[in-house]
Symmetry: C3
Subunit: 350 residues, 3 copies
């Protein structure tokens, strides 16, 4: 694991910070917001994506660092170039995916916004569960086949895109639907019935507060289109997939905000206890709101989420916090700016 | 029933108006909007909700009036305090629910925005129906069991949260699904097939006009999630509930606006005839748009609705009315401001 | 076909341009945007729609040209009046539908924004298909009954409102569901399973670029409500209809933007080759995003679409292009303004 001291060392040489990320995921708002806060921007970009960033003149990075493959980000020369350009990386989901969490922890010697240690807590199912439980959030119950007493979702290793799963309500149904060889690798979890909400938070160590920046719902192909076809459960299990292709804006009932805000605060508190300096910057809880008005958290995204792309000019919640258009991307740059002014950059960079 | 004269009496003593409401439902935009219009704000708040309003610095009330239970609002001392602070209450759905419509009519001697008489017309199913019919709006047909000739929704007393109802298409189905003791209390209504739209209106007695401020659709747990499961009608009737947990923004086809705007105008006209000074301020028609492009109105909310929480900075319609960000909450304060300037406060307060 | 020269002739006499359209579809943003760009506005209006435009003071046309029927737009006197008032028509979907594409091509001697020739390429199913194929976009496969090897949608002539169609997966199912007399007129197309996205583009000949202005999803009555009922496919085919009644805002996954932006660019390039001066101004691709993250384009709208009504103050994409609120309606007026300043009006008017 790269040490904080090492990163801090690079940082002390920085003269004029540049905000850098990979041109994908939420890079438009990251660059747009960095400009609004007066930073230079660097876009790490593959040839076919460049036309996107070129076409949005206000979100175009000041400089492109073209690569053929995102693994090049790890090349020593490339890292050196990033440091020479005084880059602070804003890691988004695609950054983590393309570069690899292990590589970022061990080999990527460039200052990043946030706490590098969060990667292992987000990426490992057991650690993530421990984090959420330590925060006292309600999470979906897990079952052994014998115990199944309600609708469950049965997932198998590598159920990416949601193709490798099914629903079952009893041990019998589980047995019937599972091939013998797969039984031991099955992960059985309560299927929580309710609406999905993805609240966006921002923990500011500089201002010492947890901000509620907005909410979205993920739009998943093809499952969210199958309702037009009148399918049976069997057909849905055969055809259905859960690939995120977009995001829809929404708000929650105001009387649910005490619960959601507390969940965000507890998640941060828990992170400070488990892996200080904790969950710095933007994060998102992936929740389901049941009809008894309780939220169940099924996952955490410990970084800026694509759902914030809905709100480059602010959300129906961020306007209550800032007297100007504030996206999550801009909020990251604002935090860096605030930290710099207070000479506390090491509080938010690692 | 508290008289208008009595309320007017309190109002004449007011020096510097404060906008007050219970910290829930749509209070964020009510406080935010009141500030934008230059008013002081008072938040009636229970301990667990305070963190929400504290965390949104621009929507935080200037002063909290903490209570353990919202029924305390009726205490004589509390009412006195509100009047001493020159409070004008903006009643939202939770205010009406927590304090109780009867209590507000008989015991709550504090100036309120709008027409206190609307509470009885909104809260009584028969009066509400008379109001909508007098306005010449199309409403869902009601049926006796013998007459059922289409898909109907059968509700029973106290079907709150939508748990106590089912669908039936014929007398036979109705008989089969109803327990004998319940048959007389069944309320049978046409199930109107189409999309739900919740248009937000504002009637301004000061400007003498009905404004169209926006639209939303309510997000209901768990019914809006069941489509992912491929359930049969029986399973949906067993599992399904209709608890509002959020709101989604949308617009309607522009060629439907003549119809929607007329519906709003007729609703106000009807209210002026049935209970002058009528439907003052914000209200919402709960409608379904059938595939023949006709709207059926199944309910009216005679006050600010939570769907307007989507638009604290204005909606895709309000921007055509105001050259600045105008939420429904701000619109209420704007109306009070306009009335004050014209010395017509009694037109909008009761 | 009216010649470009003829229209250019009228244009040279124009002193002070007025932006005109029929009061429906997207007229609010067209008028609002024209005002923002400093143009006078003319609303061609039927009596029952006038209250809508009267009620939105900032989107109200400066002058109404009242008609009893939109066919009056073709009267020689009316056309003369439009030219006398120096009107440039912004043709939206209702304009094209009410006046008639053939009439616009042959009889409507008034300058219009965009390329009049696009009407025949949009309106004729075969030409539209040729356009999309020439642009190298993936479109739904067509089948003869014998070849059906997947879920297909079978449409019959005049399937407007989506009532006259059904789904079938095999020749046998097709035969069973089709009346003998109808078999030859059946149009069988692959039913693409995935989420519908409607990206909004703007091709600017003056700036020589294709802009990505936003996305929506159409809200269709009653199909999008049937999921609450637990219907079978047979019931959905019997009851279901696809009448557009509104629009929902959304964003797509940022990694899909290279694909979408390229699709827009290829559509314009193809139009320039097939019918120069090509697809000028706003257009929309009607697409489905499958779970393999590929977009299939099932239709093109070669003009401003109603989905842009969501964004009168700009979208989550337009903010990256313009440092001010930019709707599609305003964008049209901006293009006319830019063209005028450069003395290139004939580039964007025909």
């Amino acid at each position: 694991m790269i040490s904080r001291e090492e990163i801090k060392g690079f940082l002390t040489d920085y003269k004029k910070i540049a905000i850098a990320t990979i041109c994908s995921h939420s890079a438009l708002q990251i660059f747009f917001g960095a400009r609004q806060e007066g930073f230079k921007t660097l876009g790490i970009c593959k040839p076919d994506a460049r036309k996107v960033y070129d076409s949005f003149q206000l979100a175009k990075p000041d400089e492109y660092l073209m690569v053929e493959d995102y693994s090049q980000v790890l090349d020593e020369k490339f890292q050196e170039k990033l440091r020479e350009k005084n880059a602070i990386i804003v890691p988004h989901g695609s950054f983590v995916e393309y570069v690899g969490p292990k590589n970022i922890e061990e080999k990527f010697l460039v200052p990043m916004f946030g706490n590098r240690r969060v990667l292992e807590w987000e990426g490992d199912r057991h650690k993530e569960k421990r984090w959420l439980q330590h925060a006292n959030l309600e999470i979906p119950r897990e079952f052994a086949p014998d115990e199944m007493d309600r609708l469950c979702i049965v997932k198998f290793h590598g159920a990416k895109g949601g193709k490798n799963f099914f629903l079952a309500s009893s041990k019998e149904e589980f047995e019937k639907k599972t091939r013998d060889g797969d039984k031991n690798s099955a992960f059985i979890q309560e299927y929580v019935v309710g609406l999905r909400y993805y609240p966006h938070y921002f923990y500011s160590p500089v201002l010492n507060r947890v901000e509620f920046l907005g909410i979205d719902r993920r739009d998943e192909s093809n499952i969210d289109s199958l309702n037009r076809l009148g399918l049976t459960r069997e057909e849905i299990e055969r055809l259905g997939s859960y690939v995120v292709t977009g995001n829809i804006p929404l708000v929650v009932r105001e009387s649910l905000l005490p619960q959601l805000i507390e969940m965000g605060q507890k998640t941060v508190k828990s992170s400070l206890e488990l892996f200080p300096p904790g969950m710095i910057g933007p994060f998102c809880l992936e929740t389901i709101c049941r009809d008894d008005l309780k939220f169940v958290t099924f996952e955490i995204s410990a970084r800026i989420v694509a759902g914030t792309n809905l709100y480059p000019m602010g959300s129906p919640y961020s306007c209550y916090l800032f007297g100007e258009p504030m996206s999550a991307g801009r909020r990251v740059s604002r935090e860096i700016q605030l930290a710099k002014e207070k000479n506390e950059l090491e509080k938010v960079i690692y």
